[in-house]
């Protein structure tokens, strides 16, 4: 229209001219052609829709500026990036014409996609800010640390409001199906935490918080367990905090989550009583190399569940003799009971060999016996466990362990091994019949003083039966003379403590459960002892009646305090059981076709669950959360800890092989920091040890959500379920500072699939 207006003067003149010539013969004087166009542009596609606003014309020639042309009134053209000069020639029937030209610059913004470097001028980084944050792209202000390169970086200026931040809508989703971590350079001169949130919607999102040390540019790693694809990332500097100031980000890249580091060993014993060579400490000083080389080595494969411990033993045969070996001398003789065995994990580049333990008497090599592993190894470069059964009759004979890898074969092979452990047998000594001590170890004292502590420990044996014997000479505080065994206690849960006790007359003692550490909270009862052995069963809640507070945890114990009265106290056959709900159990029924027991945790205790929390994770049944009913099961792991909870060996006799079963459960929770995972696994159990099938449900870690989420998996049982099936819940944290996992489970169910 500019042309039209700019030539208006001429039109005026024309009108005047017409006015004057109006009375003359009307030749074909046509109105002046005015060329003109406008257009709409789709900036994301480069498509220009021309709108022809020429006047008094009936034919058009477009030079579209890229070598193409058109005679349409309103052509549509999709351009590549660049600047184009478009010329429109508008003509009338008489051949008169006018032209109009305009230049159009096409700059299709490149989508923001990983890696985000802020260095591509063609990318529309499209940051949106909220709650006070300002964002702009600037030159790297501090060439140092992890980002010493001169380039563009993102400057985040916090105003000091909670949850302020900056978001990027990605042109290409961040797909976490394989690589689950985001690495970025982050600059701060103060220690600060950075929350990275990946969003599908505001509620369908995952987040990770990582700490920055405040040393300038540092490389941060945000790891996620989700496998989803996310179209939006949001960065909150100081998350809920209110720190103001300038921060810089750069080089956001997607990377594979680094493997969780190994899990450090927590105990080791080279004593005969509880031999357990875990390689927590270097045992080289105690190792005798007999044509072998022993090394204290890093675990060659700490990534698989089979053996995550950090340190292992490495033995290399010298290829001198078929009996190259290594030896460990013990201070005392090894003691065994019926069913005792050694177990050992092995890892080697070759399979098909056996390991032989030869037990020997120091200085008397003639007194020796060989115990080959029950099976040859089947795996290469994978950890597997071997078993070496021993007999009670082998007890108290040997104080040297000789280890042959592939005895009778001369080679120069290398073998890794770990967790060479003496496992106490379960069979009672002479008493006949196995005694079930429940949650306790050596409750019948047939393994001597194993697992028992306190100044009253004195295990005596009479007629093949072992028991604890104490004789209090002077009365004092009840706890002045005591016998205890450490056992994990679930706060608030109810336990049944049973024991047999007698005295040389009539006297009392205290028995119960409590903490094995300050503040020594406990729940004990006084029992009256006589010269006749009696069986006592006490129902005890893990609540201190004095303070009404629940107590428990790993460092709890069963207590016998006998110092308040004089006289003999004989204690035997101590057992501790979690008291299950009084109603349901009986007929093996429960919910129709349901294999789990207490899957909904509504007994309010851990009945039905087997707990493995030796690595420091915690399992509790809690009424903090529940998805129906009042209770849920809570698994908590912090830095370097894990907890495993099983509904173990359920459905024996009912569940059938190669049959579809459906495992369902509800879960909610949070992952804090990096390195935390939640797994649910399902096993088809053999009657003996081992499984016919094992699988991780969903194939990997489960992503917790803030709200309850229902999971359902249908799978087929293995070809042998003589030991039933097991559903296993697990949370774990690698030794990553700031790692935390908190997962609530409810309504755990295993049924035949419909």
């Amino acid at each position: 229209m500019k042309k039209l207006m700019s030539t208006f003067k001429y039109i005026s003149i024309l009108i005047v001219a017409l006015a004057f010539v109006g009375c003359e013969e009307d030749d074909a004087v046509l109105p002046k052609v005015e060329a003109g166009f406008t257009y709409t542009l789709n900036v994301n596609t480069g498509t220009v829709t021309f709108i022809n606003i020429s006047e008094n014309a009936n034919a058009y020639e477009w030079d579209l500026g890229d070598g193409t042309s058109s005679t349409l009134i309103n052509p549509v053209k999709t351009y590549a990036n660049g600047t184009y000069t478009i010329v429109l020639k508008a003509k009338n029937v008489a051949g008169a014409f006018d032209t109009f030209e305009d230049t159009i610059t096409i700059a299709i913004p490149e989508v923001v996609a990983f890696p985000i470097t802020f260095d591509n001028a063609d990318v529309d980084y499209g940051a949106t800010v909220f709650n006070g944050t300002a964002f702009q792209i600037v030159d790297n202000p501090a060439l140092s640390g992890s980002n010493a390169t001169a380039s563009k970086v993102g400057e985040i200026t916090n105003s000091g409001a909670a949850f302020e931040g900056v978001a990027f809508e990605l042109g290409e989703d961040l797909d976490l199906s394989t690589d689950k971590s985001v690495k970025m350079n982050f600059w701060s001169d103060i220690p600060i935490s950075i929350l990275l949130k990946l969003e599908i919607t505001e509620s369908d999102a995952v987040e990770t918080t990582v700490s920055h040390g405040g040393t300038g540019w540092e490389e941060l790693l945000f790891s996620f367990s989700s496998s989803k694809s996310y179209p939006k990332i949001v960065i909150f500097v100081d998350g809920p905090g209110t720190t103001s100031g300038k921060f810089y980000i750069d080089d956001l890249t997607q990377v594979e989550t680094p493997p969780l580091p190994c899990i450090a060993e927590t105990m080791q014993s080279l004593n005969a009583a509880d031999f357990n060579l875990t390689f927590m400490a270097d045992p080289s000083a105690s190792v005798i190399e007999d044509n072998t080389t022993f090394e204290y080595a890093d675990n060659p494969d700490a990534l698989t569940d089979a053996n995550k411990s950090c340190k292992v033993g490495k033995v290399t045969n010298s290829n001198q003799n078929p009996w190259d070996n290594m030896q460990i001398d013990l201070a005392d003789k090894l003691t065994f009971t019926s069913g005792s065995n050694f177990t050992m994990k092995v890892y080697a580049p070759q399979a098909g060999y056996k390991v032989t333990l030869k037990l020997e008497e120091k200085g008397n090599a003639g007194n020796a016996k060989e115990f080959p592993s029950t099976e040859a190894t089947t795996k290469t470069n994978e950890w597997e466990e071997l078993t070496f059964p021993v007999e009670a009759t082998d007890s108290n004979k040997y104080d040297k362990i000789v280890i042959f890898f592939d005895l009778q074969t001369q080679n120069g092979n290398t073998y890794f091994f770990d967790d060479l452990k003496l496992n106490a047998g379960t069979g009672g000594g002479g008493g006949g019949g196995a005694f079930d001590d429940g949650l306790l170890t050596n409750g019948d004292f047939e393994d001597g003083s194993t697992a028992w502590i306190g100044n009253a420990v004195d295990v005596q044996t009479e007629g093949g039966n072992s028991f604890n014997f104490a004789n209090v000479m002077t009365a004092g505080n009840p706890f002045d003379v005591n016998l205890s065994q450490v056992v994990p206690i679930t706060p608030g849960a109810t336990y049944a403590l049973s024991f047999e006790a007698s005295s040389d007359g009539n006297r009392t003692m205290l028995a119960g459960i409590g903490l094995n550490q300050d503040p020594w909270s406990n729940n004990v009862s006084e029992v009256n002892l006589t010269s006749t052995p009696q069986t006592f069963t006490l129902e005890l809640k893990a609540t201190d009646p004095a303070s009404s507070t629940d107590f428990g945890g790993a460092n709890s114990r069963v207590i016998f305090d006998m110092g308040a009265a004089t006289g003999v106290v004989v204690i035997d056959n101590v057992s501790l059981f979690l008291k299950t709900g009084t109603g349901g159990g009986g007929g093996g029924g429960g919910a129709e076709g349901e294999f789990t027991t207490n899957g909904d945790f509504e007994t309010g205790d851990t009945s039905g669950y087997t707990i493995f929390d030796a690595n420091g994770g915690v399992f509790t049944v809690t009424n903090e959360e529940s998805n129906g009913g009042s209770f849920s099961g809570k698994l908590t792991s912090g830095e370097g800890t894990e907890v495993v909870v099983k509904q173990a060996n359920i459905g024996i006799g009912t569940v059938t092989p190669n049959t579809e079963v459906t495992i369902t459960f509800d879960m909610k929770g949070t992952l804090m920091g990096a390195g935390g995972v939640i797994f649910v696994e399902f096993f088809s159990e053999l009657a003996s040890e081992g499984v016919s099938k094992a699988e991780i449900l969903s194939g990997g870690p489960l992503a917790p959500t803030a709200e309850w989420q229902s999971f359902s998996f249908t799978t087929t049982t293995g070809n042998d379920v003589s030991g039933g099936v097991t559903v296993q819940l697990k949370t774990a944290c690698g030794p990553v500072s700031g790692c935390g996992v908190e997962a609530y489970f409810d309504n755990v169910s295993v049924k035949f699939a419909n």
């Binding site: 229209m1 542009l41 709108i51 606003i53």
Partner: protein, 282 residues
């Protein structure tokens, strides 16, 4: 692109145009109605020539966003936005685009600009040079609404002056209307104007009113086609009571035009070359 230069030329051109039109009215008035009242509205009070590419001038224009109540009271089908896709300025014209797309539950998008709270005036000449869209179900308009005194007064009491309404399936016809108490909606006072041998969708036309105390004159280009006075309306004359603001929009569907049909082409564009408002030059 010599925008500044062109701009000053335009101002001069306006003066000439006005003079020509006024001359025409003066001459023609002699031969039609001796009582017709004509006033010189020659002092420019507001104008937008749409000479800056991009979003329309935010000092003049607001937007209605969304679907309003019940499709802005008319069962209209579009969702109004202020996105570039629906409203932009390019090469000297305002482009309002109606698109067929699923957007926030609606099947069409378009735009509705208004000067409420930014430019309001009592009396004067209001005109715009517009090239209209076409097709069944397309309903563009250039109209005025009376100030509602911060919401204390409601339509139709506030008054409505429709300078131009048009339905896209009658491309040679438009109509001008007033709504007030007792003469709103279907009872409004209206007159249509038909182009001879031309269409409103193939070129620009000027739609205007000259509005003074007790009269509103309607014209298209240089043709005065209607005058409405208090004697013409069956209710209270609500056009002497205060300032009105401008609305320009393109509706899709609704009670008046009916829904688009299979022949309706999308996108449709409504082009506005300028909007100008004058007051009496005393």
């Amino acid at each position: 692109m010599h925008k500044l230069n062109i701009h000053t030329m335009r101002i001069r051109a306006i003066a000439i145009t006005s003079f020509l039109l006024v001359s025409f009215f003066v001459i023609s008035s002699c031969s039609t109605d001796e009582t017709q009242r004509v006033t010189n509205f020659t002092k420019l009070t507001m104008f937008d020539e749409f000479d800056t590419d991009g979003a329309p001038n935010s000092e003049i224009w607001n937007y209605n966003i969304g679907t309003g109540q019940n499709g802005w009271g008319n069962n209209e089908l579009q969702y109004y936005t202020d996105r570039t896709e629906n409203v932009t300025v390019q090469n000297g014209v305002l482009i309002i685009t109606a698109k067929k797309e699923d957007f926030n539950g609606s099947s069409y998008t378009s735009a509705r600009l208004l000067t409420r709270g930014k430019f309001e005036q009592t009396y004067g000449r209001f005109e715009a040079r517009i090239r209209l869209p076409y097709g069944k179900g397309i309903w563009p308009a250039f109209w005025l609404l009376g100030d509602d005194s911060g919401g204390t007064e409601v339509w139709p009491q506030i008054g409505e002056i429709d300078i131009m309404e048009y339905v896209g399936d009658k491309p040679n016809s438009m109509f001008g209307t007033v709504h007030g108490p007792g003469y709103s909606g279907g009872e409004s006072v209206s007159k249509s104007f038909v182009l001879q041998n031309d269409r409103f969708d193939t070129g620009f036309h000027i739609f205007g009113i000259e509005w003074g105390p007790d009269y509103i004159n309607y014209y298209v280009d240089d043709v005065l086609y209607n005058q409405i006075t208090p004697e013409d309306v069956p209710g209270e004359w609500v056009f002497n009571r205060g300032p009105f603001y401008i609305i320009i929009n393109m509706a899709v569907g609704g009670a008046l035009p009916g829904a688009p049909n299979a022949e309706t082409q999308f996108p449709q564009t409504m082009l506005v070359d300028y909007v100008r408002v004058y007051e009496r030059n005393n």
